[in-house]
């Protein structure tokens, strides 16, 4: 209790060292200033230090700065399965990858949530109608003959990897909740959707049929459009169970991907479909990756 609650000194009282000490101890007791002493609303913004909500913020450039898209970075879809390595964003040279680094390591405590927001400018480059190759289509009844209409679900995936080992940044691995798309799904490799918590899907094309008549398509009316330059973005957040130190965080890419289930009744997945791979490239320029650390309470 912090209220000073001792009888007044009156004339005639004997003043001793003990009585003085007792009185001063009243003032020095632990937690002396608490709710008994503070008026309503005694604490407001001026009394607060900084860093209550966001003790850490950092922005890092991704990819290549090229606002006019004159010479974007271009890479081909991976055509081996399971793939060997994902594409790591770089500034135009593989030897110059772009990612976030945290000087001395960024420690995220159990009282924090790490928030990641990233963006990138991308464009799909397609050749030879890849949207009707591999598993990229459904067979649809045609008014003259049946036709393979693209699901338009073909995509690249981008996901987050971090290095929590050392500042040497040689041990990047998938962040929690995110898989590496190397799990067998029947005869394919990919991730269950549950393991896509840090995944951003990048569309490659959109296909529709004109003059659909009671569900029947006319084979001559296919309209296919590759996804042009667009801004894509990703978000992810993580509240560690124990304090965690992060040294680097990066975005990696893989394609061409498509929805798949191993068999009826099994979980939804995204798998690597290599058949259209030789006909699909992804171009990208620049973006940013922003790291927040938020206190949760």
């Amino acid at each position: 209790m912090s209220r000073i609650n001792r009888a007044r000194i009156v004339d005639g009282d004997e003043t001793t060292a003990a009585s003085l000490n007792d009185r001063f101890d009243d003032f020095s007791q632990a937690n002396a200033v608490d709710q008994f002493n503070l008026r309503d609303a005694a604490v407001d913004l001026p009394q607060l230090g900084t860093g209550f909500q966001a003790p850490f913020m950092q922005s890092d450039n991704l990819g290549k700065s090229d606002l006019l898209h004159d010479a974007p970075v271009s890479f081909a879809a991976q055509t081996s399965t399971p793939y060997t390595t994902p594409h790591v964003l770089h500034s135009g040279s593989i030897s110059n990858p772009t990612f976030a680094t945290y000087s001395g390591g960024l420690t995220v405590t159990t009282s924090d949530v790490m928030r990641i927001y990233w963006s990138l400018s991308v464009k799909a480059v397609v050749r030879n109608e890849p949207y009707r190759q591999g598993m990229q289509f459904n067979a649809i009844k045609g008014s003259v003959s049946d036709f393979n209409v693209s699901t338009s679900a073909g995509c690249f995936v981008a996901w987050l990897q971090w290095d929590i080992t050392s500042a040497s940044l040689t041990h990047f691995e998938e962040v929690p909740g995110q898989g590496d798309f190397k799990t067998a799904v029947g005869s394919f490799y990919g991730n269950s959707l549950q393991s896509c918590q840090a995944t951003t899907v990048i569309p490659l094309w959109s296909v529709y049929m004109r003059n659909i008549n009671e569900g029947n398509v006319n084979t001559s009316t296919e309209e296919a459009t590759a996804a042009g330059w667009r801004g894509i973005s990703g978000t992810w957040h993580h509240k560690p169970g124990t304090n965690r130190t992060i040294y680097g965080l990066r975005v990696v890419l893989l394609g061409v991907m498509h929805p798949r289930r191993a068999s009826a009744g099994t979980v939804n997945t995204l798998v690597h479909d290599i058949v259209p791979g030789t006909n699909v490239d992804l171009n990208y320029t620049g973006g940013q990756l922003v790291t927040f650390v938020n206190r949760v309470k």
Partner: protein
């Protein structure tokens, strides 16, 4: 630091009960009525605050058991489709696909964001009998907080990532949050089935869902 306000005792000086009494009374009166004018600037750091005194972060990842919507799931869809929303299942209108509760929200400002990936099947964009330019297909998205719309948007039109967020002022309480989707309504010309197996075609799905909310009371 507290200073003598009455008379500082010095070596060799005489002390009377009253001189101590006055000083004590002065100290006591100021100490039992501290207000912001007496507190130094930036004197309070995070370690001196009670949990959730100023704000509270709510985060859910994955949002839902797997991060997928599980309300509309047609398992009969072809294996190269998501086992998800088909027009055979979808009744139209807004459908709740994920929920959470903002426990002990103290009242004040709320920022909420919902991220994930969405897919919509665009093949039926131009049905013949619609006799109009077309009917683009979207997965419309909205967040409800305590039954009111916090944010609503047209949503993805292909297979792509989304993030919707909004801010508002909400009352004190355990606030329910609902994430809802609404597809473009079907026409009777739409492509609904695969021809070789007659399986219903997936028209939409939402997955990789995550939620983050920040309540700020003052």
């Amino acid at each position: 630091m507290k200073h003598w306000t009455q008379r500082e005792t010095r070596t060799g000086g005489s002390v009377t009960p009253d001189s101590i009494q006055r000083e004590m009374t002065s100290s006591q009166s100021s100490m039992t009525a501290l207000d912001r004018s007496q507190l130094p600037a930036a004197c309070i750091d995070a370690t001196r605050l009670k949990d959730y005194a100023l704000h509270r972060v709510y985060e859910v990842i994955p949002w839902g058991t797997t991060g997928e919507q599980t309300v509309l799931v047609n398992t009969a869809a072809p294996l190269n489709n998501f086992s998800a929303v088909t027009y055979q299942l979808y009744n139209g209108g807004w459908t709740t696909v994920a929920t959470t509760t903002l426990t002990a929200f103290k009242g004040g400002s709320l920022m909420a964001e919902w991220g994930g990936n969405a897919y919509v099947y665009p093949a039926s964009t131009e049905p013949a009998l619609a006799n109009i330019e077309g009917i683009p297909r979207y997965v419309r998205l909205r967040l409800l907080v305590a039954g009111r719309v916090l944010v609503e948007c047209l949503g993805p039109a292909s297979h792509e990532a989304f993030r919707v967020f909004g801010t508002g002022i909400f009352e004190q309480g355990d606030l329910p949050v609902e994430a809802q989707i609404r597809l473009t309504d079907a026409t009777y010309d739409d492509i609904l089935r695969e021809v070789t197996t007659n399986d219903p075609i997936c028209q939409a799905h939402v997955y990789s869902m995550r939620f983050l909310g920040i309540g700020r009371w003052r």
